[in-house]
Structure formats: structure tokens, C-alpha cells
Assembly symmetry: C2
Homo-oligomer: 515 residues x 2
């Protein structure tokens, strides 16, 4: 048997070594060999960037200490559970009341298959992952301005958009409009492909019938025995579809970062930070609020306050500093860095985002509407309704992500009290799920611009800002190096934080060992 496949082994070796090099930013754990000469590193912040740095530097022989403002590890890798309290800027305090087993991920909530850096640390930490469902063909796309406000199933909008596109292009092709662009022979194949993909009928038309219903679903499904026969459903007309704007959501699950497969940690995204923190227990100092960052030729000196015990400010010193404090906060802390890095810190603003979690008595989206996981899109300020991707078909309760607001919607949400946010989210959601009011139990929200330790969701880079400031932000500035999602080309994603940290410690290590 093996003989018939000679050469496989060689191909195999080639493939294994090329896999990462060709495609991914992550190329395995860093190889920090060489004499670190007893060097010490102070790391500011125990989010993913800080903990990845600490873990890898410790392994390489560095002396490491993390100063963390909060009393928990993880930073924006965070889940809110029943029993948690959270106080936002402005003093609003929320007592989270979710039942055991339910949670809200206020920040990151999904991990794409190609984010191999964060996936590596999940595996190392033993964090179990389960599929995150982005595209659910039976979830809704909703606009208050289309179809009388009635939510439409994703499968209807996608199938109909593709069907009309296929019909129009077939028509052009058959009317010889493409003769200059496509050879006659290829036109024949194109027509076949369009019929197949667009669910066209024998005349290359997109009509009610078996072909379209086999994709968009039937009005009455095929059954068993002598029950009534299936009845095909009727496609939405091109004019109505285009006018509705709902086509905007058709590509939601085909972006490089939203395409299948995606994952989430079992039990909440915060499981990663929690597990990581446990492995670094002895090197994290919690409740340490950094108030001054100084460096000179000999080392770095960090002044911080213990926010729990109070008392006089304390001082920590080290040879080097990796600072993962979001620059929205860092810009307010005195720091001795070069003018270009200071300009970078001061000029990057942070994007807005608000999430609202709602606990319901029963999983009506599953029981009444056959929606299991995935996302509904709406043009209301709540923007997104996401259904839990676990405990499918269970008889118990469920926590929906009732809002994931961005931009102007997020700003509006952030200006409300937590109670008002819930009220509005229920109002928006009820237009899609009338069960909301009867089944609602409790909720929690996080408006990132009011989160005391980030004042925003993620670095909001523009092309212009990047050209001017990105390299200065990431440079090793004397003895200080920044890391975090803001110091990456994948802002807002956890992978950005991980890859930023790996790059920072590689460069730091090079400096240390080559000095």
C-alpha cells in the first residue's frame, strides 16, 4: 500500500514546514535563546499582551513582574457572570444577575481559525474551545424601513440576492453583452455555473419553484407519508430587495475574520485570561495603578499606587519595560519617551462599542423560531442580536447578546444609564422577537468608553495615522516598548495583542542578547 504512494513523505515534510511561513503572522512560540544576563522586565498590564510577554520572557530566563490596575487578569479578555459587580466611569454600578453557566463577553467573543497565536495559548492553557456560529441561515436581517419592519430570514435574502445577480448576468451573457470580456466557450460554462449557484430555472430565470426553494426554503416543507406536498416559497423581487438595503448583511460570514470555522472558549472568553493569570500568579501585582513611567540609561522606574490598601505611592524598577496600557489611558500618564512615540500615544483615539446581555426565562429563539446560535442584524442602534452558541436545545434559560453597537449607536448607548440601555435594547429587540417582554429577566451592559481602564474599545487606526505614527508607537524607545492590539495591524482582535507581544519581546531579546 505504501509503495503506491512513494513521495508522500517528502511532500509531507515540505508541507509541515511551509504551512505557517506561507500564510500566517504567527510562526510558533518565539525562540529566545542566548544569555539574558539576569535582565529584568517590568510589564504594565495583565491583558493578553502582558501575559504572553511575561510567560515567554520568564521561560527565556528574564526576571519579570506585571503591574495590573484591576484585581483580575485578562484585561479586555473578560466575561461577566452572575455575582460579578462592575462599576463604570460616572459611578454606575451593575450587579450582574445571570444564572450560573451564562455570561456576557463584553469585549472579544470569537477566534477565527487563522488566529494561530491566540489558539496556541488556548491549547497551552488547556482552554476548551467550541464552535462560534456567525452565519445562521435561519436568523434574521432586519430593517425598520423595509418589508414593513418585518424581519427577513437570512436564507431568503442571500438566496434571492444571488438568484437575481445570477439571472441578470445570465441575461447579459445571452444577449452578447459580455462577448468582449468572456469567450463564447467560457460563456457556456459561466451560464452553467450561474444556474447552479444562483438556483435558476431551466430558462436561466430566478423564479418560485424547486430550485430556489431548495436554497431559500419552502412555504410548506416536504413531509412524510400522505401529508400535503411541499409548496415552494416566493422570492423577493429585485427592486424590493435592492431598496431594502438588507443585501448589506449577505457577506457577513464570508470575511476573512468572520468566515467559518470560528471558535469561542467554553464558559466564556474570559476563561483564557483566567487560566493565563493562574500560571502567572506569583508575578502579577494586582490593584496597582501606574502613575509615572520613567527611564534613563540604567533602567526604568515605575511609580504606582495600591488602589486597595492605599498609602504612599510605591516604586518598581527594572532594566526594561513592556507597557501594554491602552494609549487612551497611557496618554494621561507621565512617561519619558521620545517625542515621536509620545506623539503616537497622544494621537491614536479609541473606537466606541457597547454590548448588552439579556437573560430570558426560556430560549424562545430556539423553541419558537428554530434559531440555534448565530447572529441577527438590524438597522437599529443595537445593530446585532447574537444567540448563545452553547446549551443548544436545552429547556432552560439563555443570555442573548441583545446589542453590539458601534459608531453613533454606541455613543448614544454610552450616554444612557445601564437601566436605560436595557430598556432601549428590549424595545429594539421586540421588533424582531415579540417574546422579549414576556420572557425578559435581567441584563448587563458594558459601554467601552466608560470602562475606567480602557476608555474605549480598541485603537482606531486610519491609514493616515498609521503612516505617521505606527512605527514610532512600536519602536523600542530606549528601554520602553509598547505592546497590545493597538501596536498591531489587527486592531481590536486578541490575535493583534498576542502577535504584538511576540514581536516586542523578540526585538527586546535581540537588544539584550546582542548588547
Amino acid at each position: 500500500m505504501i509503495g503506491t504512494l512513494a513521495g508522500s513523505a517528502a511532500m509531507y515534510e515540505a508541507m509541515s514546514s511551509l504551512a505557517y511561513a506561507a500564510e500566517a503572522g504567527y510562526s510558533g512560540p518565539p525562540n529566545l535563546t542566548g544569555n539574558v544576563k539576569g535582565a529584568s522586565v517590568l510589564i504594565l498590564g495583565s491583558g493578553l499582551a502582558g501575559m504572553v510577554s511575561a510567560h515567554e520572557l520568564r521561560k527565556a530566563g528574564y526576571k519579570v513582574l506585571i503591574l495590573e490596575y484591576q484585581d483580575r487578569p485578562g484585561g479586555r479578555n473578560w466575561s461577566l457572570y452572575g455575582g460579578d459587580t462592575y462599576t463604570e466611569l460616572g459611578g454606575f454600578k451593575q450587579n450582574v444577575q445571570f444564572d450560573k453557566g451564562h455570561y456576557l463577553n463584553p469585549g472579544r467573543w470569537r477566534i477565527p481559525y487563522h488566529h494561530q497565536g491566540i489558539l496556541h495559548y488556548c491549547k497551552m492553557l488547556g482552554v476548551q474551545l467550541e464552535p462560534f456560529i456567525q452565519s445562521n441561515y435561519n436568523a434574521y436581517i432586519h430593517s425598520t424601513k423595509a418589508f414593513g419592519g418585518k424581519p427577513q430570514r437570512f436564507r431568503h435574502i442571500q438566496t434571492d440576492f444571488q438568484g437575481h445577480v445570477a439571472e441578470l448576468l445570465s441575461k447579459s451573457t445571452r444577449q452578447a453583452a459580455l462577448d468582449q470580456a468572456v469567450t463564447k466557450e467560457d460563456q457556456e460554462i459561466l451560464l452553467q455555473a450561474l444556474r447552479n449557484w444562483g438556483a435558476l430555472d431551466a430558462n436561466y430565470e430566478y423564479t418560485a419553484g424547486e430550485a430556489s426553494s431548495n436554497k431559500r426554503g419552502f412555504d410548506f416543507d416536504p413531509g412524510g407519508g400522505l401529508t400535503a406536498m411541499e409548496t415552494p416559497s416566493t422570492p423577493i423581487g429585485l427592486k424590493e430587495l435592492l431598496g431594502s438595503g438588507l443585501w448589506r448583511a449577505v457577506g457577513a460570514g464570508s470575511g476573512y475574520e468572520t468566515q467559518q470555522s470560528l471558535f469561542q472558549p467554553v464558559g466564556g472568553m474570559g476563561m483564557i485570561g483566567k487560566a493565563f493569570g493562574a500560571t502567572l500568579k506569583e508575578v502579577i501585582k494586582y490593584s496597582a495603578k501606574v502613575i509615572d513611567i520613567k527611564q534613563d540609561e540604567k533602567g526604568v522606574t515605575i511609580t504606582y499606587q495600591d488602589t486597595k490598601k492605599g498609602g504612599a505611592p510605591m516604586v518598581a524598577t527594572a532594566d526594561w519595560c513592556i507597557c501594554t496600557i491602552p494609549v487612551s489611558i497611557l496618554s494621561q500618564i507621565p512617561i519619558t519617551v521620545s517625542a515621536p512615540m509620545k506623539a503616537a500615544i497622544n494621537n491614536l483615539s479609541y473606537s466606541s462599542s457597547v454590548k448588552v446581555g439579556l437573560q430570558f426565562k426560556r430560549r424562545f429563539w430556539e423553541e419558537d423560531e428554530n434559531i440555534y446560535g448565530g447572529i441577527t442584524y438590524t438597522d437599529q442602534p443595537n445593530s446585532t442580536i447574537a444567540y448563545p452558541n452553547f446549551n443548544y436545545f436545552s429547556s432552560g434559560k439563555g443570555v442573548l447578546l441583545g446589542a453590539y453597537a458601534f459608531g453613533p449607536g454606541a455613543v448614544r448607548y454610552a450616554s444612557m444609564s445601564p437601566e436605560e440601555r436595557i430598556t432601549k435594547t428590549l424595545e429594539y429587540g421586540s421588533k424582531i422577537h415579540p417574546q422579549y417582554m414576556k420572557e425578559y429577566e435581567n441584563g448587563a451592559s458594558v459601554a467601552w468608553h466608560r470602562v475606567p481602564w480602557t476608555l474605549g474599545c480598541a485603537g482606531a487606526w486610519t491609514e493616515e495615522l498609521r503612516a505617521r505614527h505606527y512605527n514610532n508607537l512600536c519602536a523600542l524607545d530606549g528601554r520602553i516598548m509598547l505592546a497590545g492590539e493597538h501596536a498591531s495591524r489587527i486592531p481590536a482582535w486578541q490575535e493583534g495583542a498576542v502577535l504584538s507581544a511576540l514581536d516586542a519581546i523578540r526585538r527586546l531579546h535581540q537588544r539584550v542578547t546582542q548588547a
Copy 2:
């Protein structure tokens, strides 16, 4: 808060009661009220149709007995585990050697979200479900005749197909070729939609760059800190794409029965049959081979042999019979039914299909190629490679579905010995995954035409056959009624078996209570 949403409750009630009626063949458990007058029913076969019938009839007060040919419940609801043995027609015996926790589903392997009948029984039986991943953007589409035999990532083929379609239709639109079909105003919206969905650049062209790479992926992904910048990937040209035929697989995850969300039972599809059988222990007689089915005005008489104990044929009698034996087998058993039903039984042939499971020492598709679950398509006879949708990221072994052959490919596979099937499957698979030969451990296969108790995979209805025979096949013929996937409009799917059974017992019950 409630005040602002007056009317929700009424909408809610309307929605709950309409949900099923509008869309699904399944309308909840049957309501078999009325006096059953001590009626007895013999059920032939303990597949899903037989067990659903038995369960519901027992609940309604009928005396029920199931005769089952095999020594286990479930029928085609079946998983093969390490330690199992399986002997096919022709005498080939396989000793399955998968490690604990791994399995092959020889038959059904996925449950669409709208198959509410089978989902209801999963819930009733406490069978845990987990997501079945159909579309994986990082899996492959492969043709031996295209791209020099090099497998292509699904995300490349889909993005490029959509990109070229969008570019061509944009071109036609801007050249006024669609002026008769689409108003000027709608053309503007269409162009926007095509640019958005097709990842076109500012000139409505599908080119290498940020827009296309944000869907198809980069040659070098964006990274962190000062690592090299991302480099966009280069789309496949229209001519090459059309000529490759790989576009055929683009719609694989958008069919009504293959679109997300889909589920599989934790631990193998056979968990359903196993759990169902446990609840019916006292009414199933195993190893009972039916050799004669007779009826007269007074009742039905079934003659069967005990294939374990041997001995003289035995006889069971009852008032009614629900026969779920596949007609591929039933056509060989003497049965007193009307000529039309007999013609229906004799004329329906069964489709071919072969599955091969392969155990590998490590999950190289995950570790080397970042493929987590989902399906690769190939033009070779194995047709499908499906990756396990559980134990993601685990360091251990894995069982791939190495072949899911249909049509001519299945016929060819079925003519081979189990060992030859493995050899060929490894050969085909190695063209896609060169790691196959180094990592292979053991395998098992099921060729449905050689399965002694079905002689095929599922009823192969054509439109013509249905017009002539379907109603006769499903009719209550005296005291005998057939049920199973073959007596449904959803052949091959478990939902067909469930809905067929529910319709059969509803009609039987009507006859009994109205007599």
C-alpha cells in the same frame, strides 16, 4: 418599560402558534386521543420510523411489539466504534479498531435546524447535540484536472467566483446592457451591492488588494508590532476558475438541508437509536428475521425466525402492522398487500453510497493546515473528506471520513474488499493531504449495497416513480401500512423516517378510532 411595548404579548401568542404551521412538516407530537379499543400493532424494524411509531402508539394505549432483524436498535441510525464487528454481504468481516471516543457514522451524519421531528426526539431522549460544520472556508476543493492537481482553499474559490460574477455584472450594468431590466436608480444600488459583496475595488474591478484579501485571505497575514506588513493574495483568473469546474462546490453550504445551523449527536449519530432503543427495551424482539407477512380481515400474521437461537419459524399476530423494512428487502418477502402497493414495493430501487473512516495518529489537518471540522470536496471517487466536528485542537488522534462516495464511485467502491477500499481511499486522500501515509493507523468502511439488512442506502425516487407509486406505497393497505424514509418526500434523511411514521400512525389511529 413594559408600557412602551404594548402589543408585544399579543404578537408573541400569534407567533408561537404560527411558527410550525407556516414552515415545517413537523407539527409537534401527534395527538392520538380516543379509544383504541385494545388494538395491537406489530412493527417491523426498529429504525427511527419503527421506534417513533412504537413510542407514540404505546403512549396512546396500543399494544405494541417490534420485530428487529439485527441485535441492536437504530437501523441506519448507526455508528461504528472500536471493538464493533460488521459483516457485509459477501462475507467480508471487519473488526473496527478506532480508539475510544472516535467513530464512523456509516449512514446519516447531520441534522438540519429545520428537521424538527428528529430534533424533538433527540430532546425527548436527552441526546446531546453539537454543531456539525458543513462549510469550512479553509478546507479544500480539489480536482485532479485543475491547478495541476493542487487542492484550492474553499475561501479562494468562493471569493473569486463571486468577485468575477460581481465584476462582470458591474460591467454590463455600466455599459447599459441592463437598462431594460433594471431602472437607473436601482442600477446605482446594484453597483454598490456588487462592490460590497464581490469585494470589488473602487473601479468595480476584482483585483489583488485589500478588498479581495479581506475575504480570500492574504499571502502573508497582517501581524503585530514591526513584523512585515501583510501582502495581498492574487485572485484566480476568470478563465482558469471557470475551466477548473471547482465552482460546482461553492454552493455546498447554502442548500436548505446543508445550510447552517446543522447538528450531530455528541458521540456519534447512533446515540439516538441507542437511547430510543433503551426506552423500548421490553417491546423489541431482536434477531427476528421476518420471512412472511400475511393479513386478512381479522388481523396480521407475521412469520419470523430467530437468527440467534435458530429453531422453527415463529408467528406473531396483531390487529395492525406498520412495516418499516426497506423495500429493497421487503420486495423479497412474501406479503399480502394489494397489487398497487406490491408494484410500488417492487419498483423503488435504492441508491448507492459508501463511507470509509480512517484513523490517524494525529490531527494533521488541524495542526498543519488549520482545518477544524467541515468538508473538502474532490472529483476523485472518494468525493468527500470530512474532518471531525469535535475534540478540536486536541493533541490526540482523529478519525476522518475519508470517502463518502455516490453513484458510479460508490458502485466501484462496493465491488472492492474492505482492504482495497482503504488502499484506494488513502491513495485519493494523499493527493490532498500528503500526511496520510505517514499518519494512518486503521480504517473501516460500509458499502450500503452490501449491507444485508438494507441492500442500499435510501429510496431512489424519481419524479416519474413518485407520480406512479408514491401514494400507493404510503396507503393503509388493509391492515398494513409502510413507513420509513422511503415513504416520505425527504428520502435518505432521518426526518423523512420520523415524519413518515407520524403520518402513518395518525392515519392508522384515525381508522382505529373511527371504525
